[in-house]
């Protein structure tokens, strides 16, 4: 009996252990892909889930998603890992989600997703050291890496078309599950006051495509639509959130007004049928206002958004006359004389400056100085001719030597007749003129130093000859 019991126990052990031992390596890491709905409608958002199950350490994982042909795909960025126990074994599950929106009806195939990774096998032969605990870091691999390529199975998706819609209201284009509310800020107004009608569409689906439902307000109101406010987020269940449409209503006449309810038709994916949402609006009481109609603010959420149009004249008239006394200030028109005077006067000033500069420069030149001295000496000789013969002859000598110096371009005081002739000839003066000049110089010197008295006629003649010679030498 004990022998049989022992055999049965051994057999159970073999049955229990053998499959586990065989599948241990096969199920230590695997991937799978699932769809939230394999038969969605066109425009209905579905979720594609890719999951990695691992019971061993993996490294260098590279994920290649499928192509998602025929879908609009958006990955949910928040990848999360969690622990899950399957068949008594703990796994780390890492999931990647995509929100898919079918674009066209028909059967589409979502291809295989591929994950390439390496399984870290511990090195059993290596002995543990005291440093192992210190370096026990997942990024520091100790052991061999076994590469693996894991693939999911392709999946067929049957996309159903939306049924035809022939209702009285236009189809909004929304596909999913939605709800709509409407609220009026203030139902009691005065003419010219402003109140805000807020319509909110919320739910899950293509909420971002929602447009403002048509608001049929009476002609007694002006409407100013604001930019819609969106609060939409992407979750593992798809796009969810709400979209609010604000419209400023400004009554222009008093009275009791019942605003018609708002309606919005969408396709409900849970019911597989079109559904029309209704939102009732309260009655508006508008009292006569005392002030001019209010103008919506230019900025902010209540700012007016109106259609821009070309500004055209609504009346024709001229601008008013000028009332300032500046109209009496005379304007002097430009004339040719004024223009020419204005042009030439500064030029004349410039020319004068140039001439003055030249004259000053010439004053310092030996030629100018000697010429000036010759003229002065001639005047002195003329003055002293009758009274002081000695001074008269000295002045003549001074005039002639100064003229000679001016001719040769240098300055000096005294000059002997021989030296004078040599200098004049060396400076290209006509030899005859040089000879005459030195002859006259000799005549003056002899009279000056001999002490002989000259008659008045001779003095006059000598002065005339000297003046003539000075002119010839200093043209």
């Amino acid at each position: 009996m004990d022998r049989w019991r022992w055999l049965i126990s051994l057999l159970w052990l073999l049955i229990a252990v053998a499959p586990a031992a065989a599948g241990e390596t096969a199920r230590e890491v695997w991937v799978e892909a699932t769809l939230s709905d394999p038969t969605p409608y066109v425009g209905q958002q579905i979720t594609y889930r890719f999951a990695l199950f691992q019971s061993v350490r993996v490294t260098d994982a590279t994920f290649q998603p499928p192509a998602f042909d025929g879908f609009s795909a958006e990955e949910i960025r928040d990848r999360a890992s969690r622990r899950e126990t399957i068949d008594g074994r703990e796994y780390v599950v890492t999931e990647v989600y995509y929100v898919l929106i079918p674009l066209a009806p028909g059967t589409h195939t979502i291809g295989a997703a591929t994950l390439q990774l390496g399984i870290v096998r511990p090195d059993r032969q290596r002995r543990r050291t005291p440093f192992d605990d210190f370096f026990d870091d997942p990024f520091i691999l100790r052991g061999r890496v076994e590469p693996r390529v894991l693939e999911t199975k392709p999946m067929a998706v049957t996309v159903r078309p939306l049924p035809p819609w022939d209702g009285p209201l236009p189809f909004s284009g929304l596909v999913g599950e939605f709800d709509m509310t409407a609220a009026l800020e203030n139902p009691g107004l005065e003419v010219g006051d402003s109140t805000t009608l807020t319509v909110t569409v919320q739910g899950s689906g293509n909420i971002m495509d929602a447009t403002a439902p048509r608001i049929l307000v009476p002609d007694a109101f002006k409407t100013y639509a604001d930019a819609p406010d969106e609060q939409i987020e992407l979750t593992v269940d798809g796009y969810q959130g709400k979209k609010s449409f604000r419209t400023a209503l400004v009554p222009v006449q008093a009275g009791e007004f019942q605003l018609p309810g708002l309606q919005l038709t969408y396709f409900d994916v849970t019911q597989g049928a079109y559904r029309t949402l209704n939102a009732a609006l309260p009655a508006l009481t508008v009292a006569p206002g005392e002030t001019a109609p209010a103008v919506p603010p230019a900025a902010g959420p209540m700012a007016a958004r109106s259609e821009k149009s070309l500004v055209t004249f609504t009346g024709r008239d001229i601008l008013p006359p000028k009332e300032g006394l500046t109209a009496l200030t005379p304007h002097r028109p430009l004339t040719w004389p004024v223009l020419l005077l204005g042009l030439l006067l500064p030029a004349g000033v410039f020319g004068t400056v140039v001439l003055v500069q030249r004259a000053r420069r010439m004053e310092g030149h030996p030629v100018a100085r000697m010429r000036q001295r010759a003229r002065k000496a001639l005047k002195t000789a003329r003055a002293q001719m009758a009274t002081d013969p000695s001074a008269y002859l000295t002045a003549l000598y001074r005039a002639l030597t100064s003229a000679i110096f001016a001719r040769i371009g240098r300055s000096g005081e005294a000059l002997a007749w021989k030296e004078a002739e040599t200098l004049l000839r060396d400076h290209g003066v006509d030899p005859e003129l040089a000879r005459q000049a030195t002859g006259l110089l000799t005549r003056i010197e002899s009279s000056r130093f001999s002490g002989a008295r000259l008659s008045p006629e001779e003095r006059e003649r000598l002065l005339a000859r000297t003046r003539q010679m000075v002119r010839r030498l200093t043209p």
Binding site: I318, P321, K322, P330, R332, L334, A347, V349, V354
Partner: protein, 262 residues
Amino acid sequence: MIRSIRITVWMAAVLALWCVPSAASPLARPFLSGLEAYQAGRYDQAVEQWEGIVSDGVINPELFYNLGNACLKADRLGPAILWYERAARLRPNDPDLRFNLDYARSLTRDRAEEATIPLARILFFWNYHLSRPTIAITALAGNLVFWALLVAWRLTRRRGFFRTAVLVAAPTFVLILTAAYNLYEDGHRRQAVILPGAVSVRSGHQPTDTELFVLHAGAKVRVVKASKKHYQIRYSADKIGWIEQEAAGLIVFRIWDDASVK
């Protein structure tokens, strides 16, 4: 020293007080009377008052503008455009003036056949954006600066003055040429505005001469020749003829011209 400065300041103040009212007060009364008449809708009276001021020798774009307004309100389109054009010569960029002139032009009957060449407006843009007095004053100021820089260069021999003078020379030269051209145009290429509602442009001076074409109030013409009582005018390249001088007002206005525009 302080006493002499004080005396000088007092003398200057007294001189200023003496000069300002003497220039404004005799003309302020008719000007304000004209404004009052305009506001009351008596436009002919406003024209009369303001033309009197112009006859006293006041050439002012604002006064011309007011005259244009009053004439337009008095249903005298030709004189209105004439006064606006005269104002535009002195202050072309006055927005009020541009608005009213454009409005007045929109009332004319004759379509302009000789427009200013757009290329000329682009190439010589300054002559269309600046008033003639502004161009002339800027040219003279530039000329003064140019020669002053040359004088500074001659006195100091610093090349910086000479280089600056060369830089100033180019725009100044352009502006001087522009001012000279404008003066020449005012003297020789005179423009006029047709004043009556309609005027026959004839082949000669005599009323029996052939009527070539008819111009209407506000049409802008170029005066080619002037005889004792007639102008030979050109409306476009192929439309030339004679009109009586009374039928057109010269845009270039001089102090000695008759201010009254019929």
